[in-house]
């Protein structure tokens, strides 16, 4: 490991058990729904049963008269009350904006869209009264499939987008790519469907808003990955509540996976309603509501062409993708199938030219936005599935085809044809290590032997790249982001030398209270118990962009590092003054400032902290106190990479796929806590495997969500997954001083094609070259049956 543990940094790189665990394992976590304020009332939403309908009449009288009901509001009430639409946070050129109301006015556009809210004394009475709200609809034709939605005569979702195309986006060199494809020895062509997924964090979304009319202060507890973003958007754009009178707290949050980034209608309604009623109002989603209203993920249909020369060297990639955006533009929806997808289509390969075009299409379905990986899994799937199809077509071993086309080590920073500049990488060692761990050659021999016995084993490889910490702000701003993507950290040293760190990152399972404390304790040479990490509260943290896109370590961690550097520098000046030495002669090591060459002349960090607050003897011109705030705006993304390999057995009689082994070799740069990094990978691999094999959001033709419960949507269970075998190579990122790349989404990105490739490899004796996911027993069995009949 390049910058592994040294004696003065015992914690960075160590397997430190998590400090946050004690509250969770003893039932003392505090999630939004656990919080009840005096006088709390409860909200229940009335939701559209139709995918597309005109609301002709809403009769709320019976609900209003019901015992225990405080209020019933409709979209018209909110509009009259000055509530604006929920804006989109990324605007592409010529994009059609949608007017998304917290509660629908006149027209509903997806099943589950809110049409009214009832607020009552208890959740039970609120739900009872919600059933008394009578809504009359005029049902209208709906379209749920994005390709169908683009056809002439398709039902229109928003009148300002007559063909339902919200944006048409391109990247790369069309002419050069066309020419390369025309001149290629082999062109592999495939249509790939990346099916719609539903995130399913186990904690349902929830919001508790409380308004104090005497102080004019609004407080919102909410299941958010980025409370400052919630406050800014809701305060400034939707509700008109001044930021300094609006506190947003994201307490313990039970998983996000992207789905808790966005500003949702229910949160807006809680904030508005508490101001009307003068009492706290709480809403917690039922799982059925989570399925219908949490932003969904993926949902691409892609035509890919990958061109090779006679030796199997890649010449070009052309990709045409239709991305389903759902009925409204969710907060970052436009960025996901464009700047987080098209720019990643180079993968780990040395494509001389790439051209990609993406149509973002509106349909009568739940809005689609970032779900773990967010664009990058879709790009990786396109590349890695196609690479396997190409390997078979070219008669080249899939591992060899990948190795042959990797961006060569030593060519970093590497400029891709699709805008990105990769920071650092060395792709072959991770592939080699993964093949060694799985025993690639031995497995191929075993596979041959098994086939002779009528058993179908398969092996799938996926060499991936991730992009973490979307940056820098100036660039993302020029590309359409309506926000900067830096991170802040305030490090406050107390007079006793204890430290509180206020980070703009947010942990909803990632373990920041441990990893950031490891970082700070090592850098300050103090005990980890002397460091407290505070996050998730706009009333305590100065500002923050939150956690998504695997950005917390690389961006949030670096902001902490920068503040600590400032503190050490001020501390050095104070220590020099106390030691009667020149500041340049004082060094800091192991929690102690000392004079170079005279290690016995020194002051501990705690002594200097106290001196800074006593201020009895400070260097001239130095302010008392010891704290620092930094805003770190990275110069670039970071680019983790690696290779995952999966082996499966397919039962040809039932179509059941059994995952035999799963090997992941990842390079996430420097590692703060290997236990947490492995945990992130495990969870990501489980989610990606689930996309390959089980999960799929299904709408019927009328727009009903058929998979709206955990009985119908296959979130994997413990007995569906194997143990995972992980290892790492370490290529530090030169982008940030910590050398961190990030790990939050790597497992999800890599695993889907690894598993899908393994299944298709197992099915190759049947002549099956591709199947769209999920590769459920029914899909696999039917494919085998058709192939056998074709025989």
């Amino acid at each position: 490991m390049a910058t592994a543990t040294t004696p003065t940094r015992p914690l960075i790189g160590a397997r430190v058990t998590r400090r946050e665990d004690l509250r969770f394992i003893t039932g003392r976590g505090r999630y939004t729904d656990d919080i009840t304020l005096p006088g709390t009332t409860y909200a229940a939403f009335v939701r559209s049963p139709y995918a597309h309908a005109r609301i002709t009449r809403i009769d709320t009288d019976a609900a209003r008269r019901a015992r225990g009901v405080h209020a019933v509001y409709t979209g018209a009430d909110l509009a009259a009350g000055g509530v604006n639409g929920i804006p989109v946070g990324w605007v592409l050129p010529d994009m059609k904006l949608t007017d998304r109301r917290a509660i629908a006015v006149d027209e509903v556009r997806y099943v589950g869209e809110a049409v009214a809210v009832v607020i009552a004394d208890t959740p039970y009475t609120a739900k009872d009264a919600a059933e008394l709200v009578a809504v009359e609809y005029e049902e209208l034709p709906a379209v749920t499939d994005a390709v169908a939605a683009m056809q002439p005569g398709a039902p229109v979702v928003h009148a300002n987008a007559p063909n339902n195309v919200c944006f048409h986006w391109t990247i790369g060199d069309a002419e050069k790519t066309d020419a390369a494809i025309r001149g290629a020895a082999t062109v592999v062509r495939q249509r790939l469907v990346n099916q719609r997924l539903i995130p399913n964090a186990i904690e349902p979304r929830a919001a508790l808003a409380s308004y104090n009319g005497a102080t004019d202060e609004l407080t919102l507890y909410v299941t958010s990955q980025n409370p400052h973003v919630h406050r800014l958007i809701m305060g400034a754009f939707v509700l008109g509540v001044p930021e300094h009178k609006f506190r947003v707290i994201a307490p313990d949050v039970g998983g996000g996976f992207g789905s808790k980034i966005f500003v949702y209608p229910e949160e807006v309604v809680m904030c508005w309603a508490t101001r009307q009623l003068g009492r706290p109002v709480k809403w917690t989603a039922e799982r059925r509501e989570s399925f219908m209203t949490d932003a969904h993920g993926r949902d691409h249909v892609t035509d890919v062409e990958m061109a090779f020369d006679a030796r199997g060297t890649v010449l070009a990639l052309r990709v045409k993708t239709v991305a389903n955006l759902g009925a409204h533009l969710s907060l970052f929806a436009p960025a996901i199938p464009t700047y987080l997808y098209g720019t990643l289509l180079n993968g780990v390969y040395a494509f001389p030219t790439i051209y990609a075009e993406v149509d973002g299409v509106l349909t009568h379905t739940t809005p689609v936005d970032a779900y773990r990986g967010a664009g990058r899994p879709e790009a990786c799937y396109v590349l890695e599935r196609t690479m396997d199809i190409a390997a078979r077509q070219l008669g080249i071993d899939p591992a060899e085809l990948r190795r042959r086309n990797f961006v060569p080590a030593g060519s970093f920073p590497y400029q891709t044809p699709v805008a990105l500049s990769y920071d650092s990488g060395n792709y072959a060692p991770a592939l080699d290590r993964a093949l060694q761990m799985i025993g690639y050659d031995a497995f191929r021999a075993e596979q041959e032997a098994a086939r002779r016995e009528g058993r179908y084993l398969g092996i799938g490889i996926s060499s991936y790249i991730e992009a973490c910490g979307l940056a820098p702000s100036q660039v993302v701003g020029s590309l359409g982001a309506q926000a900067g993507l830096w991170e802040s950290a305030t490090v406050r040293v107390h007079p006793t030398g204890k430290v509180t760190i206020f980070t703009g990152s947010h942990s909803h399972g990632q373990g920041h209270e441990t990893t950031f404390a490891q970082l700070a304790a090592d850098e300050l040479g103090i005990a980890i118990d002397d460091v407290e990490i505070v996050h998730g509260d706009t009333g305590r943290v100065p500002f923050g962009m939150g956690t998504y896109g695997s950005r917390s370590g690389a961006v949030g961690g670096t902001a902490i590092h920068m503040s600590i550097e400032k503190i050490k520098e001020k501390g050095r000046r104070i220590a020099a003054h106390l030691l009667e030495a020149a500041p340049e002669d004082v060094e800091f090591s192991g929690g102690r400032f000392s004079v170079k060459g005279s290690p016995d002349r020194g002051k501990t960090f705690a002594e200097v902290s106290l001196a800074a607050y006593l201020a009895h003897s400070m260097p001239a011109g130095t302010e008392p106190g010891l704290d620092a705030t930094s805003f770190y705006d990275p110069s670039n993304f970071t680019f983790p990479f690696g290779t995952h390999v999966c082996t499966v057995e397919v039962n040809p009689r039932t179509g059941v796929v059994k995952v035999l082994r799963y090997v992941a070799v990842d390079d996430v740069g420097n590692v703060i806590n290997p236990m947490i990094v492995d945990g992130q990978l495990h969870g990501g691999i489980a989610q990606g495997t689930a996309q390959a094999l089980w999960e799929r959001a299904v709408y019927d033709e009328g727009g009903q969500l058929l998979t709206a419960s955990l009985m119908d949507y296959a979130v994997p269970k413990a007995d569906m997954l194997p143990l995972f075998e992980t290892d790492r190579t370490v290529t530090p990122s030169p982008v940030n001083p910590l050398g961190i790349k990030g790990v939050g989404e790597a497992g999800t990105i890599a695993s889907t094609p690894a598993v899908a490739n393994a299944v298709l490899d197992a099915l190759s004796p049947f002549g099956i070259t591709h199947l769209d996911m999920p590769l459920t027993p029914a899909t696999v069995w039917q494919a085998i049956q058709s192939a056998t009949r074709r025989g």
Binding site: T17, R28, E203, R287, L710, D719
Partner: protein, 180 residues
């Protein structure tokens, strides 16, 4: 309203409840024991799992409070004893078997029931035994390891007679936790 009396974490409670009130809502809303979570409405996720009458793990969203009248209910708040963690709690921390923590109470209580019924489960038996509890963060890898570790710890003679590890945290009352 129906008057019920039941014991939760060793303390007897008496309340008038609506007959339709779910046990999990009684625990969370009436007693303030918010460690037991609600993650779905169809008895799939298992976040609400508690232990009934000392051995059987049940999903508290699938029982009415009135059905628990006279029963002894053990929730995650009552699992640690005299400030010492139960081996399952300790093992979940040691093996990093939790990330966001939301499924964790239910997962631990389900594992408690599993180990009561089968003190020496194989990996496959652990996976099958926990298939009623969903975790979206861990991929179950470390949960399996934690249950294996706890099973070993619970039969090891080095711990005290209750099978608990040493004092590791300041005891907190298991009476209703005040929500703020």
């Amino acid at each position: 309203m129906t008057r019920i009396s039941l014991t939760v974490n060793g303390i007897t409670h008496e309340h008038d409840v609506e007959p339709r009130m779910l046990l999990v809502h009684y625990l969370r809303d009436t007693l303030g024991l918010t460690g037991t979570h609600v993650g779905c409405d169809t008895s799939q996720c298992g976040a609400c799992t508690v232990v009934l009458d000392g051995e059987r793990s049940v999903k508290a969203c699938t029982m009415f409070a009135v059905q628990a009248a006279g029963a002894e209910v053990l929730t995650i708040e009552g699992l640690a004893h005299d400030g010492t963690l139960h081996p399952l709690q300790a093992a979940f921390r040691e093996e990093h078997a939790l990330q966001c923590g939301f499924c964790t109470p239910g997962m631990i209580m389900a594992a408690y029931g599993l180990l009561r019924a089968n003190p020496h489960p194989s990996e496959a038996e652990i996976r099958a035994g926990l298939e009623g509890n969903l975790c979206r963060c861990t991929g179950y890898h470390n949960i399996v390891k934690a249950v294996q570790r706890a099973a070993q710890e619970m039969e090891a003679p080095s711990t005290d007679q209750a099978g608990r590890e040493g004092r590791v945290f300041t005891p907190v009352s298991v009476a209703p936790v005040a929500a703020d």
